[in-house]
Subunit: 582 residues, 2 copies
Amino acid sequence: MRTSDRFRRFLPILDWARTYSSETATNDLVAAVIVTIMLIPQSLAYALLAGLPPEMGLYASILPLVAYAVFGTSRALAVGPVAVVSLMTAAAVGNLALPGTAEYAAAAITLAFLSGLILLAMGLFRLGFIANFLSHPVVAGFITASGILIATSQVATLLGIRGGGQTLPEMLGNLGANLGDISLLTLGIGVAATAFLFWVRKGLKPLLVRAGLKPRPADLLAKAGPVAAVAATAALAWAFGLAARGVAVVGEVPGGLPPLTLPSFSPEVWVSLAGSALLISVIGFVESVSVAQTLAAKRRQRIVPDQELIGLGAANIAGSLTGGYPVTGGFARSVVNFDAGAATPAAGAFTAVGLLVAAAFLTPLLYHLPKATLAATIVVAVLSLVDFGVLRRTWVYSKGDFAAVAGTVAVTLLAGVEAGVSTGVLLSILLFLWKSSRPHIAEVGLVPGTQHFRNILRHKVFTVPEVLTIRVDESLYFANARFLEDYVLARVTDGCPVREVVLMCSAVNTIDMSALESLEAINHRLRDMGLRLHLSEVKGPVMDALQRTHFLDALTGQVFLSQYDAAVALGAVPGAKRDAAE
Amino acid sequence: MRTSDRFRRFLPILDWARTYSSETATNDLVAAVIVTIMLIPQSLAYALLAGLPPEMGLYASILPLVAYAVFGTSRALAVGPVAVVSLMTAAAVGNLALPGTAEYAAAAITLAFLSGLILLAMGLFRLGFIANFLSHPVVAGFITASGILIATSQVATLLGIRGGGQTLPEMLGNLGANLGDISLLTLGIGVAATAFLFWVRKGLKPLLVRAGLKPRPADLLAKAGPVAAVAATAALAWAFGLAARGVAVVGEVPGGLPPLTLPSFSPEVWVSLAGSALLISVIGFVESVSVAQTLAAKRRQRIVPDQELIGLGAANIAGSLTGGYPVTGGFARSVVNFDAGAATPAAGAFTAVGLLVAAAFLTPLLYHLPKATLAATIVVAVLSLVDFGVLRRTWVYSKGDFAAVAGTVAVTLLAGVEAGVSTGVLLSILLFLWKSSRPHIAEVGLVPGTQHFRNILRHKVFTVPEVLTIRVDESLYFANARFLEDYVLARVTDGCPVREVVLMCSAVNTIDMSALESLEAINHRLRDMGLRLHLSEVKGPVMDALQRTHFLDALTGQVFLSQYDAAVALGAVPGAKRDAAE
């Protein structure tokens, strides 16, 4: 690889920056303005969800965007705090310190740093495939359950009472215990803001279109709804002095540039955060890549998953050095960025400038902003994540997938996000192993008029009683080796007419050492009973491995290229004579 | 199932006891006498290896044998303390108490009880397949490494110094530290006993045969070697008062019947022993079943693995109620039992009576027995377990299997038995998952003159540039779904002549929800590029699942019964016209 190519692999910015034109710049600038307006309330809200001071949400949206613009491959992905990762941050950091303390914020910064390191390492060592072990249904179930947890966690803020807890029973318990403290003014603001935001989401766009706006600008204008709610409720709270009347407001938010911060390098902190950082990295990566791929496909662009890991890793490390907490590519903001016409990652950099200005100069305006308004924006945003349809779809398609999803949803709700996602991964792996340990085995016969062999139970096929052909629908490995042994020996009982046993290996993709020993045992036992064992349709890589052993020398029968050749040679084709080879 | 049949399933004794004859009884009695003589020193030695008082080895060989005779299905298996399980017991119980204390013995009894419960539960719920996840090479590597650990642990006793430790570095460190305390008298006895036992094992049988004995009696007589060593060295030590001259002897062993004992029911003890009990159960079961199967096959008998679990579970529970510690079917003693002519499990019951007599009346004779003699019997027994050949064999056959074995051996030696066996299981599962996450994918073409399709890189086949046929050699599931997506889309680049893509599914045994979504994505993208996606040779169970979804409606192409049908329809057979179906 030439040096310049290597640079280009690690610095996708070199690809698009060379051809950057003023027209592209205009598109990117327009998108950046729209995304900036959307991100200000969202960043504040998600920081509060993570149990952090609101300004950390802004900080997490500035330098990470620039870092991703340099290292990321998606042209529309917008990186920053997202709901699920904020919830996972709260769960991880909550084990180490109390929300509101300096240790809590420091731990969140360290978590971002660790997560960045993990993502970077996964990218450099091309370990992106690890994310594949999170199956689609498990991710869908996890996101749905997280959405419920997040919405429930915000109910306390909407009611103006103390909440807390990391599981649904804890949250409901805390809500119940404090229900007497409801602040009616807060409740009013919360309900009004929630209703307004739902209406903006569903009803504003049609209204604007009827008023003469084109659908796309109408759609983008509707995205400014949260900012309107923020401005209106903050003005209201200021005008009527609601802070003094029991409505919780954001309060003093330090202005200025993001601070320079360093993660903790204490080994204990690292050890206690490492598992959470890994989960956050993988979940964040899976979410981000699926958004990036969806958007790239719409414009026939490609993203490079291993480079995405580097981009997200750089973004998290950048965040941890400037007062941020774990970030990833967000669905809603990326779609808005895309729809607003963002053509290159420069749009992200421009957004960062917008948020920098907001962080530096606009924070005094946030003093009177009711926290209930931010809770309303979160509730409305996350309820769109909740999709119980995945339970129904998997139930219809595959009980195994359903079990994995149902387990993920239940454990996430009852035991929290980290237990939930771990359970999902483990369950789906265990179910896969369990399934492959009891493989589907079919006896096959010749489909008349073809050279094709199918299951005797499902198709009208030709067989002869002397020749038993078994197709094992699984690779042969330690977990199912004994199963095959039991199946073959139980099928070939004393007195049955079978003289020749053919193992049709079209679905056998590997034979490991345990399975090889089982095949040797089968060959040996069949020989003792006067039967021969043959193989057919053995794949190249499997045959290569077998040829390095003595198995083929000991095999009583032959290895046939195709099952049809085997059937012809053994006299299992209508009218065919048995081969002289016998 | 009729009541009597159900009884017979759970009580195999009903099968053989009805036809028990005096001839069978004679055979069983002869075998019992020989095995008893062999078991006395072995039981004492393994109890010392487990860090327990020697009489517990005898106790563990009495009631467990009777319980197995009632519930087990093997006619020759001899149950009792074995080397590897004794080592694992020491590792498990050593975390809880110091060897030699009453707590230590109580914990070993509880471990036997827990292990019995686990085995019983696995048998009743037919979970014997769990043992399949211990692959043959991992077991071989684990046994080899355990043999080395056990032999090393006995060196201290042979030298008359203090040893200890659960890993090779710990053991070697302790040996080195105490090397100055060597007792030359002990060393002399140890070396002489070891040399004698090796000679008995290798040289005595040929000598006896030359002296006119038949091979089988000669072989059985050679098995009495350890008893001769025990008697000779005990007499020597008594005659010369070696105990007073620094030779460690067994000392006072309480005589009488096995005591009635109860396991601890403390939740903390159970929690801290549960993991170890599971490992011991699974390892013990795997070892025992493989011995039982080997012996059963020689006489055309069958064993029932799930019932074996019940037999071993009953044996362990019986042991825990009578002062024993975890037991399983032992290789050496079972082979001796078999060779000596044991015809039914009654031989085991007779052996139990022999050992009962020994425990009741012979223990005073053991006072002067040097511990070094017992160490010598252990060293000679376990060195036959050590087989580094498995490393070479797996290296030649499969690097994945080799990695699992090498990891198991290394971790067992360096971090102990429990870490070792856990590592082996995890490594082999991870390697399997990793392999199946990057499946072998072949482009295939028609083998001329047949209807058979093979890899274009390995066979001379016919293809046409418009039709791309891909055979994925793996079930499609979450871990490899994205891999297939990337492969297909990278293969079908802009400007390539491919118009039709056929996925040949002969090796696809399941398609899970994640893979279904990937197939939908592939179908969608190919459609956007003007290409059609077809499937061929979809198996029955996979087709059943697909028909419950909308995938087949959205599929741009067709599903063909055989790949040959697909090739004919798409014009990829020499001289064939494309089907009108297009």
